[in-house]
């Protein structure tokens, strides 16, 4: 939690010693974030660029531990608000917007024509017709697969769900897990559910379900679980006690063939020894051909807390972070996708290119991920239900009843 910019402490010291020096006239912009090491370095480089362009602003970046940040934000927004704070798009920001903790930044969007350049994430940043922050990165989800395993059993890469399920028989015969996952932290299971539901019922239905408008006992939900039941026997056993990284190891070792995951997993696959030649990526196969293709791409965002003191500079910074150039640079370091349509991605990374292609051509809409689209408490209960279903599919009725009871209570 130490200020990561040395100049911050220096500037403060100098300001205290010589209150009239030139540096002391810099306006401080406090930014609380939760970056990992590599993204942090990239963000610091971007901040240096920003400060070069705005010499009278000093951005003080205070970096938090990723998990700790999720709790810390609730405290610092109400007590000691910075001028900028990282968070997530979609329903994840709803509690803060409703509690009046985030500032309306619609003017930043209007002044910089962000509605056009950030169009793909506009819907997930908009509540009550206003925008509440600026998205700077997202990444695709899909199915990562082991090309060697496919060759070994003579399977072809499926485009429809029926083909995918048929392949599972081949993998089973070779003692390979057709679909692997590690649900010890619950969320990987939600990725499977999201895609099954998006492919079975479509984006609008999925959004209605995650926002609590559709009952969990609805026939559409049951149809989704019916598709899930087809692959349930082929999912890695004991996934409930496996971390997602350990399941990635199973795939790297050739003990599993497919993994529904986000693009951040590529690094883990490659650490496990996979290369661009053995690791493949495909869009989640089609289940209902009449349903328009929608994808899943969790978006990370920056917001201005309502208690910010330096709002003007914060808005300048948001506009800067929304620019094509800044997003290109940051995402090259993140290994993720820029949201600005004018940005470019590294063409030598097949997964980034595939993701960019996949998301920029999505006709149906982009979901954020179950635990960001749904209310937090509902998300937790839902993900437990998904895990339970994958272990004991016979409990489906009990699971859906439980979720429906919770929905009626949570979204009353």
């Amino acid at each position: 939690m130490l200020p990561t910019k040395r100049s911050a402490g220096l500037a403060l010291t100098i300001a205290l010693l010589a209150g009239t020096s030139a540096i002391a006239q810099q306006r401080v912009l406090n930014y609380y974030a939760d970056f990992d090491a590599a993204p942090l370095a990239a963000m610091e480089a971007l901040i240096a660029d920003f400060e070069a362009a705005n010499p009278d602003v000093d951005v003080v970046l205070q970096n938090f531990d990723h998990e700790g940040y999720k709790t810390a934000i609730r405290n610092f927004l109400t007590t000691d608000a910075p001028d900028l704070a990282n968070w997530y798009a979609g329903n994840r920001m709803a509690p803060f917007v409703e509690a009046g903790q985030f500032m309306d930044v619609s003017d930043v969007w209007a002044d910089n024509d962000l509605g056009t350049s950030l169009a793909s994430a506009a819907a997930s940043m908009t509540m009550d017709g206003k925008q509440w922050g600026v998205p700077y990165t997202y990444y695709q989800w899909g199915i990562y697969y082991n090309k060697s395993a496919y060759e070994q059993v003579g399977a072809t890469v499926p485009t429809t769900w029926d083909e995918f399920v048929a392949n599972c028989e081949l993998f089973k015969a070779a003692d390979i897990d057709c679909l692997t996952t590690g649900t010890s932290a619950l969320w990987p299971g939600a990725g499977i559910f999201d895609y099954l539901n998006l492919r079975t019922n479509g984006y609008d239905y999925h959004m209605a379900l995650t926002s609590g408008e559709t009952p969990w006992t609805d026939d559409g939900v049951r149809a989704t679980f019916a598709e899930w039941a087809k692959v349930q026997p082929y999912i890695t056993e004991n996934h409930a006690a496996i971390d997602w990284q350990d399941a990635a190891a199973l795939m790297a070792q050739g003990k599993a063939a497919n993994y529904v995951m986000g693009n951040f997993a590529v690094a883990v696959f490659k650490e496990g020894g996979m290369t661009n030649d053995t690791l493949g990526f495909m869009a989640f196969p089609t289940i209902n051909p009449d349903v328009v293709r929608a994808e899943e791409a969790p978006t990370d965002t920056i917001h201005i807390p309502a208690g910010a003191t330096n709002v003007d500079d914060a808005k300048t910074f948001l506009a800067y972070m929304a620019s094509a150039d800044a997003q290109t640079k940051l995402n090259a370091a993140l290994g993720q996708l820029p949201i600005n349509a004018g940005s470019t991605v590294a063409s030598d990374d097949p997964f980034i290119s595939a993701g960019f292609e996949l998301l920029s051509t999505t006709p149906g809409g982009i979901a954020q991920f179950f635990d960001r689209d749904a209310n937090a408490e509902m998300a937790k209960l839902g993900m437990e239900g998904f895990q339970e279903f994958m272990v004991i599919p016979g409990n489906l009725d009990a699971i859906l009843d439980r979720l429906e009871t919770a929905r009626q209570r949570i979204y009353k």
């Binding site: 649900t183 056993e237 004991n238 006690a241 408490e377």
Partner: protein, 307 residues
């Protein structure tokens, strides 16, 4: 004249002298009591109050009355947590006889016995987090030692922490490991104080083996047993770290205990129902109070008996 002037002064000194005995302990206690009131007593009452509200940590507090408590009874996750707490309490009690057994086994004079004693005590010294991690790896599917062993013997491994029926027991076994060491050390010190003349007398009368243990040794170990039971009960009820490290309450909530469920509801990433969490805390507090007041009554009775 000088004598008369000294009189009131003497009287005021004598007020202090008269009350010194009663006041001094309170003066010494005051800082501790102030801290205790601020950090223990006040939060307890604040939790009671909060348990009647709906509060997410950000917005307004909304009065609910007893709704949080009503919801608890129809909440399957709460019932599971409560059931697991009972399992923890019962299973954890095994630490007391197991600790006694090891203590008796180690209570002999052979070369290097201190090293053996230290080794047996070792699990209690390492952090619960480390214990949890070690056991999680021990149970881990595909590469865990236990998993591999079972696979070797039966041909099919059992992933203890992935099985909703076994996971809680798996965690309790991990918890018993340090707890047994704790009970052992309590009994080892107790055994040092066993009167040798009584043992000798009993031996002359022909007592040995289990009868000796039951009628001669155990009665003398009663203080040690009492402390061992107290720390074990409290250890079982406050089990949180192992659950959090080993399973996060999963698979699908089957290893939750009340303290973990409270944390999940009130403070974790998907929680922030402060009122509901407080209601769980109140229930846990009530359960603990049953045991704690029992212990305290017994302690007071014993103390009076001694005097």
């Amino acid at each position: 004249m000088a004598v008369a002037a000294a009189l009131p002064e003497k009287r005021s000194r004598s007020w202090w002298a008269q009350n010194q005995q009663t006041l001094t302990p309170w003066l010494f206690l005051a800082p501790g009591m102030a801290m205790f009131a601020l950090y223990v007593i006040w939060p307890i009452f604040a939790s009671f109050r909060l348990s009647f509200y709906d509060y997410d940590g950000l917005g307004k507090e909304v009065w609910l009355g007893l709704d949080n408590y009503r919801e608890l009874w129809s909440d399957p996750a709460f019932v599971t947590s409560l059931k697991n707490n009972v399992i923890w309490l019962v299973m954890y009690m095994l630490a007391v006889p197991a600790g006694l057994g090891i203590a008796i086994f180690l209570n002999q004079t052979v070369r290097g016995i201190r090293i053996y004693k230290s080794l047996f005590f070792f699990p209690f010294v390492i952090s619960q987090v480390v214990v949890g991690l070690m056991f999680a790896w021990f149970y881990a599917p595909n590469f865990g030692l236990l998993y591999k062993l079972i696979e070797m013997v039966t041909g099919k491994g059992i992933a203890v922490l992935a099985d909703p029926n076994l996971a809680t027991y798996g965690i309790i076994v991990a918890g018993l490991w340090p707890q047994i060491a704790y009970c052992m050390i309590l009994y080892l010190t107790g055994l040092n104080n066993v009167a040798p003349d009584q043992v000798e007398a009993a031996r002359l009368d022909g007592a040995k083996g289990l009868r000796m243990l039951w009628y001669v040794i155990l009665p003398q170990l009663r203080p040690a047993t009492f402390i061992a039971v107290v720390v074990t009960v409290i250890g079982a009820l406050r089990s949180f770290d192992l659950v959090s490290i080993m399973t996060n309450g999963g698979p699908f909530g089957s290893t939750r205990v009340l303290s973990y469920y409270m944390y999940e509801k009130a403070l974790s990433e998907y929680g922030f129902r402060m009122g509901y969490g407080a209601a769980i805390a109140v229930v846990l507090f009530a359960i603990m109070m049953i045991f704690i007041s029992g212990f305290i009554t017994k302690m007071i009775r014993d103390e009076r008996g001694v005097r």
